[in-house]
Amino acid sequence: MALLDHHLLSVILFTPLAGALLLLLVPRAMENAHRVLGNVFGVLGFVVSLPLLARFRPDVAGYQFRENADWIPSIGAHYSLGMDGISFLLVLLTTLLGMISILSSWKAIQLRKKEYYILFLLLQTGMLGVFLSLDFFLFYVFWEVMLVPMYFLIGVWGSERRLYAAIKFFLYTLAGSVVMLLGILAVYFNAAKSGAPPTFDVPTLLAAAQQFPDGLKVWLFWGFFFAFAIKVPMFPFHTWLPDAHTEAPTAGSVILAGVLLKMGTYGFVRFSLPLLPADAALRGKIIHIVVLLSLVGIVYGALVCMMQKDMKRLIAYSSVSHLGFCTLGIFALTPHGLAGSILQQINHGISTGALFLIVGVLYERRHTRLISEFGGLSTPMPNFAAIYMIVSLSSLGMPLLNGFIGEFTILRGVFEVNKTWAAWAALGVILGAAYLLWLYQRVMFGAVTKPENEKLPDLNLREYATLLPLVVLAFWIGIYPKPFFRYLEKPVQLIVEMVNPGYYKSAEVKSPIDGPLPVAGSIPRSEKVNVEEPAK
């Protein structure tokens, strides 16, 4: 098992690619073989990521399973992989959602199956590469690689306006990534000025970037910000998302919402935060702008949801709102904000992924996504109704389901920094309940109004297989999120110590408001409680 010991990440990364290559060799005429093999490699991609659960050590700070090989020595580009707690969660989310989406395509995709499954597996490798690369050059390659299959997934297998949506998605993202490329090159050349050998190694470059003058850092920050903000997407760069989601096939939407958007937030955490300028006033200005955009996104996205007539468009706008929470949490620069944000990224992948699967279930039956075409579906589809309800509740932040844990932790972390921000974000929580329940009511409650809805079949086995894992995860994170927090503890601490130095300094003071208890005798005190008079 030397391969697993030393090249686990490579195995995870290239299993889907191997599947894609294998599929190339299968003759086009063997239609079913593509579908079966596609699923085999979907499952395999997930299975090879499972050893991570046993091998990844959450108590170790820094990157694990490092792999490093020279790639283009002349410019200092390496094939360099590594994983910390953040990428650990995102990689597992990617392999799981990849498997589920491929399974969900079983019946939905009838056209050009061979190309479809090849592209989907290629997409998997692209996304995993983004989360695993520790070399800027490699990162950029994967960032661009994943763009192409997604373009085709939307453009070939999408619905009516697929070409418009695909081109919009491609150009919009490309515009961002070109600016990011400039940013990467700027970091690369400026770091090399000090005389060190040129390298694209991410940790080295980010450490070097700490010494950059603030003026440069501001430019770099906005360069990277532009690319990531488009990807997230943050208001006002979000309008590619509703189109891409609406036109993409179900599996494409699941991956788009579940994983692709996380590449933006991941970029913020990994690359943007270290590029924040050191000067407090300058940094405060930047943070204010980003937070303002996040808050606008939260409330704006939620309000726009209210008037949508298309289920997928509605869920797409809800993503704008939910991702607003994620960016808000990141730029609170507190442990709770960051940990909550990353957890919420996972949660969003689960809940919104499941919501898109749910729309897919309806689309396969009725070939429409218009809310007005449905109504009263609880009667013909009771089990579907139950799962859809759970998924809606998870998305709107019901306690004991995943969304609540993320939202709560983010809001607490934000509250620590600025109470007004938290209050505005709380407004998004209220609106979230409103649009999701209203959608549910219009689709599921009441009497069946359309005759074609009267005999809709309930969930089949394959649909259960795609939805139930997500439901189980939603409950797990809602009831026992401790393991997830454990994976995030170390990386979050590293980041916060970098961007918010001194946060962990006052560790010896335990009780927030110190002072002797009046009935000290009756309440045993632990030694952790400091009994000094408060500074005040």
Partner: protein
């Protein structure tokens, strides 16, 4: 860890109904109704036994040791955080249970009344579709409510808080085929969410001010592993870090109160409760009268230490409670739907409870919560029995004369009505009297509001009783011959609740009437925590203590009796007027309505509050959504993104034109010039040899001519 099986297993209490709820919702459809009944009622019964056993064992302990706490697991270990004081602390919300006198009362009310209502539902819902679903939701509700009252920290309380809201949503919308039902469910959920947002912010503020969200560190094996709110607050007050009336404490108290207003249907967030009557009647009894809606009262009482330190917040609570009490009571005067009357009555009584909390009579508030649970559950279940007898009729104008037709229902209902009216020695008298007494000592104005409300309450309740059970029958003929008394599973709970409505108040028999108010004594350790007595040299923040001192020193003085006698008199007056209006002279109400039609319309339409909210908030939010949707489509996407696309295309067209006409033009022009000259030149290039020969000859002649001339000049 305290001895005793039940005390060690309080965590099982919420678990029993959870297990059956899960079973119902997963495979309940395949079970027979009888199996569903046995499982679901059985699990609540077992929970009740465990609750009663635990309280019994708690009572065996000395009063100062009556706190049992256990932590099952770390629930949200979110990691390090800074308090507002800038210190680092670990944020943890554990899954832990706390049983103290306050949660004892709640857990007994919830499981006890809950059990009776479950039993009643077996009869009431027997003919309905979705029987398993109904009981699944009802059991899920029990789980959430028990988690709420047993939680040892604010976040777990919030789990129960949201959970009961969800079950309320699901049960209000139980008849989901009806649009009004699903609308009402949605409204309840969203209005509650508004309150919840405030509650959540309150939790944040507590966490950052005090560094903990656990109620207390008492009652743990390892007490003080980290301090609870009570201990941190005590320390802060003692050290002077937080003063009596500190703004941050007021802010916390008010934010939490926003949550309480949502859940307990107080002004301005009460609007969801009347609509919630769309749900099946047992749901109205359990959730929208006896238990869930009292969660806000419980929460404020639980956080009483903070409220006692904030006189401003206390005042807000008292005034909101009093205003809601009288406002809702007037709305109840003109309703014709039997359940709507009870709904407004519930809002009004909840107002009483908040009035009690606001004047510092926390125990009295909880006391009224308990007695109200008895008689309001009784009244709702009774109304359900009436509706059942009348094949679903809810309009009181189509009732009347039912006294002898459904005797058990009628008699128990009148017991409930007398109890809520506050006639001694029924339960309502004791709790209401205690509230009014404390209000009287606190503020004459608040007392007056409560006093008038007491009269209104007696009036609208007996209006309901008279319209339903007495006078001539106005029942429709098609329904008339179906009238029947309800089955035993429904009438037995009615009788038990009637008994509780009579004797339930005796536990709080006041000292002034020769009792010893055991109830208040039992709750004292929670409501006046030990540290509050230890505050020396500072203003004593404990209104409650002040009030108590007064009653103790004055004893049974006029001050004690006057409000008591007055409130009984006003209740009797209300009953009498109801008798006059609805039995003696049935035309009187219409005459009065005709005399002031605008007033009648105003009250009948519930002061148009729903319409005002729709106009001010709901529709404006929808408009804003529509506007922003268009803005997104037209401006951000249309102008911004597609505009950029269009500009790019336009730019490319321009450059195509430029290329075509200017760049290529220049190239083509030079080519054209060459071509023109070439064309001219090509005239001579014909390829015909004789032409060339001619040209050569002509050329030579020309040359000769030229040079000939030249030669001539030279020669000359």
């Amino acid at each position: 860890m305290p001895a005793g099986y039940f005390l060690q297993h309080i965590w099982l209490i919420p678990l029993f109904p959870l297990v059956t709820a899960a079973a119902m919702l997963i495979f309940g459809r395949r079970l027979a109704n009888s199996v569903v009944s046995v499982l679901c009622v059985g699990s609540v019964a077992v929970a009740f036994v465990h609750a009663a056993g635990a309280v019994w064992q708690l009572l065996a302990l000395a009063p100062e040791h009556r706190v049992v706490q256990m932590i099952l697991f770390d629930w949200v270990p979110a990691g390090p955080m800074h308090t507002s004081g800038g210190q680092l602390t670990q944020f943890t919300a554990d899954w832990g249970m706390l049983l103290d006198p306050l949660s004892s009362v709640m857990v007994l009310v919830v499981t006890g009344v809950g059990l009776l209502i479950h039993l009643y539902s077996v009869g009431y819902m027997g003919h309905e579709g979705g029987y398993y679903r109904f009981f699944g939701y009802l059991n899920l509700f029990m789980f959430a409510m028990l988690t709420l009252v047993l939680a040892n920290n604010l976040l777990l309380l919030f789990v129960g808080w949201e959970g009961v809201g969800l079950c309320s949503y699901l049960l209000i919308g139980f008849y989901f085929l009806k649009k009004s039902a699903s609308d009402a469910g949605k409204k309840a959920f969203i209005v509650n969410r508004i309150g919840d947002a405030g509650f959540l912010l309150g939790i944040f503020l507590i966490a950052s001010t005090l560094g903990t969200i656990r109620f207390t560190s008492e009652g743990l094996g390892d007490a003080g592993a980290f301090p609870g709110i009570l201990q941190s607050l005590g320390a802060a007050v003692n050290s002077g870090a937080l003063a009596y009336g500190a703004p941050v404490l007021t802010a916390i108290a008010l934010l939490l109160f926003v949550g309480a207003c949502g859940k307990s249907a107080q002004i301005p967030l009460y609007v969801w409760l009347p609509d919630a009557m769309e749900g099946p009647t047992p749901v109205s009894a359990l959730i929208h009268a006896a238990t869930m809606v009292t969660a806000g009262v419980y929460m404020v009482a639980r956080m009483n230490a903070i409220y006692q330190l904030s006189p401003l917040a206390m005042q807000v609570v008292a005034i909101t409670g009093a205003a809601t009490a009288i406002f809702a009571a007037t709305m109840g005067l003109a309703q014709n739907d039997i359940k709507k009357v009870l709904a407004y009555s519930t809002i009004s009584q909840l107002g009483y409870m908040f009035l009690a909390l606001g004047v510092g009579a926390f125990s009295a508030g909880i006391f009224h919560l308990m007695t109200h649970a008895f008689f309001k559950a009784l009244l709702f279940l009774g109304s359900g029995s009436v509706i059942h007898a009348l094949s679903g009729e809810q309009d009181m104008r189509k009732m009347g004369g039912l006294w002898s037709r459904i005797p058990v229902t009628a008699k128990t209902f009148v017991v409930g009505a007398v109890a809520i009216a506050g006639i001694p020695p029924l339960a309502g008298f004791f709790s209401k009297d205690e509230i009014l007494g404390k209000a009287f000592e606190h503020s004459r104005a608040l007392w007056l509001v409560g006093f008038v409300t007491a009269g209104l309450t007696a009036f609208y309740m007996f209006r309901l009783v008279n319209m339903t059970f007495f006078g001539a029958s106005r029942v429709e003929h098609s329904v008339e011959h179906h009238i029947h008394e309800s089955p035993k599973t429904m009438t037995v709970p009615l009788m038990v609740l009637a008994a509780l409505s009579i004797v339930g108040g005796w536990i709080g028999w006041p000292a002034a009437l020769g009792g010893s108010n055991r109830f208040e004594k039992f709750l004292d350790p929670v409501m006046a925590p030990a540290w509050t007595y230890a505050l020396h040299g500072q203003q004593r923040p404990i209104l409650h203590v002040v009030v108590k001192d007064m009653t103790h020193t004055l004893g049974a003085s006029l001050l004690e009796y006057a409000p008591m006698v007055l409130s009984v008199l006003v209740a009797l007056a209300g009953i009498f007027i109801a008798y006059l209006f609805y039995l003696k002279e049935p035309d009187a109400p219409e005459k009065i309505a005709a005399a002031a039609p605008w007033l009648y319309r105003l009250v009948y339409n519930k002061y148009y509050v729903d319409e005002i909210y729709d106009g001010l908030f709901v529709n404006r939010a929808k408009d804003l959504g529509t506007f922003l949707g268009l803005f997104d489509e037209k401006i951000i996407n249309g102008l911004g993104v597609d505009g950029t696309g269009w500009l790019t295309r336009f730019g490319s067209s321009v450059s195509i034109l430029w290329d075509k006409w200017v760049v290529d033009g220049a190239v083509n022009l030079s080519a054209a010039v060459v071509r023109v000259f070439a064309r001219i030149a090509s005239f001579v290039q014909t390829g015909v040899v004789s032409n060339y020969a001619l040209l050569i000859v002509l050329g030579m002649l020309a040359l000769l001519g030229y040079y000939g001339n030249l030669l001539r000049h030279v020669v000359r």
